[in-house]
Amino acid sequence: MALRVRDLTLGYDRHPAVHHLDLELAEGSLTAIVGPNGAGKSTFLKGVMGELPPLEGKIERGAARVAYLPQLSEVDRSFPLSVKAFVAMGLWHRTGAFGGLSRADLSRVGEALAAVGLTGFERRPISALSGGQVQRVMFARLLLQDADLILLDEPFTALDAKTAADLLAVVQRWHGEGRTVLAVLHDIEAVRRHFPETLLLAREKVAHGATDTVLTAENLFRARQMSEAFDDDANVCARPAEQPAKRGAA
């Protein structure tokens, strides 16, 4: 099991953004997270990364190494770093804070840049890259992270068709290598074509399973019905937490 989530509630100021979510992701699965804006998709990924402590419930990560591409990255693109130096950060698990880059590491960096179509960009400062090129650089770094579980938050938004196709090929390569990939996406047609499994989220889990069975007209309608705004006068959630006795018996 790459990821197991039990009765998970995540939120801000006690308002739930993800509400009582149960989910299990099999190792090697390729799953899209779909849902309206404000459905808790990004919040869920933050929770898995440990950036946001759960209000309730548990997250168990079976994967040894997790890589994460946030929707709003905090990359300071004016920082004077070359593409090569930036991408090489993905080798942190090999170098740690103090280790040097070996010749093999440098050739890995070259291979990762080639895989995202940026050969020849090694010495370019990251400040001189276009938006699409930055996303290619981020994928090259993800490649080097060699992670078992890869979380992508809207990885193809605002990209041209060629760039999106190239980066989708990288995602499919990860899937072929048996890595578990979980990606937040808005392009329903792309999800149907390329993602075998889907989690439809609208604060609560609407459906999870094979993409064909999840992305039905009825489910998508239900997802749209769920309200986006927090209710300032909401009562304390009275839904019973999982019974301790039941957990003990299992």
Binding site: A67, H93, A97, Q145
Partner: protein
């Protein structure tokens, strides 16, 4: 050439001043470069004010005593740094607002303490430093702080660069984010205390930030910026001390003004992102 060499050859106090300033140039400028790159240039200024009450307590306890004022200054700086960082990380207040709050409290406390005892002459010492009267202990301290700073920066270089360039990524792959931030603030405090022995609390920030700002117009890599900044600081030190010797100017401000002059020249004529590059662009390329 004798005007260039003689003051340093003939007078021990000039040699000491030069050594002290070169030590600060090596230690403080890389810290300044990282402050600049993290958009924390004014943090150095705020920290310098935060150090004041510690130095004042040291002064109240032991008079113009290097050890007491150093320990007091470092302690006050670290307390403000840790409180600032902790508030920024655990509450809704951002780092800049949090630092402003604590350094203002600290500064008020410092002014109160200095005025409790202390004449105006002493206050001038604290504010403007005594680079022409550095004794052995002060020189040792300056060199030790420069050494510690360079070794520490070399050790944490990778996490520090990552914390500046992509902090969220650093948090996703390691637990270094917090430690490296606090370690860096510690280095800022140490170097301000070193700088204030020689240049005074107000001028110490100048030798940290001005060379770094000048370097931004010459270099496009971190390594290049670090090297240019150290050179700018060293040249400013020599030029400021010479101006101070020949024209009878106070040495601290003379050094900082020399650095300021180099900054303005870089701002206008530097090859990268300067006014010259903006208003007199060279012909564009084919691709």
């Amino acid at each position: 050439m004798s005007w260039l060499i003689d003051p340093f050859a003939d007078f021990a106090f000039m040699q000491r001043a030069l050594l002290g300033c070169l030590a600060i140039s090596l230690g403080a400028t890389p810290v300044g470069v990282f402050l600049l790159l993290r958009r924390m240039s004014l943090t150095g200024d705020a920290m310098a004010h935060a150090i004041l009450p510690g130095a004042a307590v040291g002064y109240l306890v032991a008079g113009l005593n290097l050890g007491a004022m150093t320990i007091g200054g470092v302690a006050a700086g670290l307390v403000v740094a840790v409180l600032t960082g902790a508030v920024a990380r655990f509450t809704a207040l951002r780092e800049d607002a949090s630092l402003a709050a604590f350094y203002l409290i600290s500064l008020a406390l410092g002014v109160l303490l200095v005025s409790l005892k202390g004449s105006n002459v002493d206050l001038m010492h604290v504010l403007f430093g005594t680079v022409l009267a550095l004794d052995d202990a002060a020189l040792t301290l300056l060199c030790a702080i420069a050494t510690v700073t360079l070794v520490a920066l070399a050790l944490v270089y990778r996490p520090l660069v990552l914390e500046c360039a992509d902090p969220r990524f650093l948090r996703s792959v390691s637990r270094w984010s917090g430690p490296v931030h606090f370690l860096f603030l510690g280095l800022v405090v140490l170097n301000l205390v070193a700088g204030f022995q020689a240049l005074g609390t107000l001028m110490a920030v100048g030798i940290m930030i001005l060379p770094a700002a000048a370097a931004r117009f010459w270099a496009t890599s971190i390594g290049g910026m670090l090297a240019v900044a150290a050179c700018v600081a060293a040249i400013s030190s020599v030029a400021g001390l010479l101006a101070s010797y020949h024209a009878g100017l106070p040495s601290g401000p003379a050094i900082i003004l020399a650095a300021g002059t180099l900054y303005l020249l870089s701002l206008v004529f530097g090859p990268s992102g300067s006014l010259a590059a903006r208003f007199w662009p060279r012909a564009h390329l084919e691709a």
